[in-house]
């Protein structure tokens, strides 16, 4: 009896490991196929622009509004601490650096995962379930180039732009709280920010982060959609997986990138 259950235990573990490795292999092959059609897909700008609209433009409102609120919260919390040390005018710097380096890319990516990536997964999953991808393939049109690649590229192009918008909205939110409501000096708020936020170190690094997140978000969303089981349940769980995996990937990548970019700066 004992031997049998031990055997079962190892069998189950073994199968889980094998399925995991198999899925990794599938993902690697899928990524390879995707990269293979990327040059071909990037020339069809009309398709990419369409996806930029659905993923990027339609995410504008949620990103901008979230940015304003995050900026306002940062201002309230930041002022609370800064005024203890008599350096409330540094509020602009603190908020801008937090946004541009970390919160901008990360929160935008999390919002994008929920707003756009999930929709892409559901769309591709349903296209597959209703044989639209098969029909396209039978018409000698590669679904990888026609459907998958434009959505992947749109995520990469949208993310840095949305991140800039999020961070800008955040700065405006902080300005409303800090300058208009609390009464910090307007000139100090902006000039300190201008003097201490570096284009290369802070803004460009933040944008690089957001582009890397865009690659991860785009890849996860099209992969999960492409391999979703062709049922209502399959598409639903693929959509959930997209949001979960994207969010975890973004946070993990953010840690790695932050260490690479900002360790030992001062």
């Amino acid at each position: 009896m004992m031997g049998q259950s031990l055997y079962d235990f190892f069998e189950r573990r073994g199968r889980a490991v094998r399925v995991g490795i198999e899925r990794l292999g599938i993902a690697a092959r899928f990524t390879g196929a995707l990269l293979g059609v990327l040059l071909q897909a990037i020339r069809r700008t009309a398709l990419i622009i369409r996806e930029l609209y659905f993923s990027g433009v339609r995410s504008l409102l949620i990103v901008a509004v979230s940015g304003v609120f995050v900026g306002m919260v940062l201002a309230v919390q930041g002022y609370e601490v800064l005024q203890r040390y008599g350096s409330a005018e540094s509020l602009g710097v603190i908020v801008a650096l937090s946004l541009v380096r970390e919160l901008g890319p990360v929160v935008t990516a999390l919002l994008f995962a929920g707003r756009a990536s999930s929709a892409v997964t559901a769309e591709i999953g349903l296209m597959r379930a209703t044989e639209q991808l098969a029909a396209m393939d039978m018409m000698a049109v590669d679904p990888m180039a026609r459907v998958v690649a434009p959505r992947f590229l749109a995520a990469i192009f949208s993310m840095p732009i949305l991140t800039l918008i999020f961070s800008s909205a955040g700065v405006i939110g902080a300005w409303i709280i800090g300058v208009r409501l609390i009464g910090i000096d307007d000139g100090a708020f902006w000039s300190q920010m201008q003097a201490n936020v570096d284009l290369r170190i802070d803004i460009v690094n933040g944008l690089i982060k957001s582009a890397v997140f865009g690659v991860a978000l785009g890849l996860v969303s099209v992969f999960e959609g492409y391999f979703a089981a062709p049922t209502a349940e399959g598409v639903a769980s693929a959509t959930t997986r997209t949001v979960v995996i994207s969010s975890l990937a973004v946070l993990l990548l953010d840690f790695v990138l932050t260490v690479m970019m900002f360790r030992g700066l001062s």
Partner: protein, 268 residues
């Protein structure tokens, strides 16, 4: 028996296919001549759709050869396979229309993707195909606004947009009302004649099949069970064909899914 000479459009030789450890096709040899309409019948899950997948090159056989218009499909690289597919039209079970495109754009899709024709030339082609299926007036509708029968007709117009030499039909009658079934059947026949195509229809609609097909191939247990003329179906005393033609619940295709003994399971 035809040996797959120049008149053969599709030639399957001892094709075997299994999926997930289950044998689906176990040695299929079938020749389809140019201009023929062949119906493939058989129980659900019997490998009928698999056959279309093999002919269209979406599936690869474990063994055997699949030759379409003189080309060995499983051995083609992607470019050659896509070149062949430009000459193959396929109607999917529920139409598989692109839900984000209008009826017009669905029919225009293959023309826009596969040709360099300007819009001014594509427009009359699309309208002609839509007129052929009687739905020119529906060109601005979205697929979600169509009935099942209309969607199937639009999908048919899209499938023949490039005037294919071979048409594959995957359950074209499934889920349609009797009027739509009649319309689709007649369209299949008319397009077949007008375009001089070779057609393969996978179906279990026996009435429509008898009216349409030149030949009926019955699959059972992964093999070709019978290959006969429509007029021989009604007189056939083969138990499998009788069960199929008469819609009998039990017979060679059992009513019961394999189960342990009923009495024993009830008593426990």
């Amino acid at each position: 028996m035809d040996d797959g000479g120049p008149t053969a459009m599709i030639d399957l030789r001892d094709v075997r296919f299994s999926y997930g450890g289950r044998t689906i096709l176990n040695g299929i040899t079938l020749t389809i001549k140019r201009g023929e309409i062949v119906a493939v019948m058989g129980g659900s899950g019997g490998g009928k759709t698999t056959l279309l997948g093999l002919i269209g090159g979406r599936l690869k056989p474990d063994a055997g050869e699949v030759i379409v218009d003189g080309q060995n499909v499983p051995r083609l690289n992607k470019a050659a396979l896509y070149a062949l597919r430009r000459r193959i039209g396929m109607l999917f079970q529920f139409g598989a229309l692109f839900t984000d495109l209008s009826v017009y754009d669905n029919v225009a899709f293959p023309l826009r993707e596969q040709t360099d024709l300007p819009d001014a030339l594509i427009d009359p082609l699309v309208l002609m195909k839509l007129e052929a299926v009687g739905l020119r007036g529906a060109k601005d509708l979205m697929p979600a606004e169509l009935s099942g029968g209309m969607a199937r007709r639009i999908a048919l117009a899209r499938a023949v947009a490039l005037d294919p030499a071979v048409m594959l039909y995957d359950e074209p009658f499934t889920g349609l009302d009797p009027i739509s079934i009649g319309i689709i059947g007649r369209l299949i026949k008319r397009l077949h004649r007008a375009l001089g195509m070779t057609s393969i229809i996978v179906t279990h609609d026996i009435n429509e099949t008898l009216r349409l097909a030149d030949r009926i191939v019955v699959l059972a247990n992964g093999r070709i069970h019978r290959d006969l003329k429509p007029e021989d179906v009604t007189s056939s005393d083969d138990p499998f064909i009788r069960q199929f033609a008469d819609g009998l619940p039990d017979g060679p295709v059992p009513f019961h899914y394999p189960a342990p003994d009923y009495a024993a399971e009830l008593i426990g």
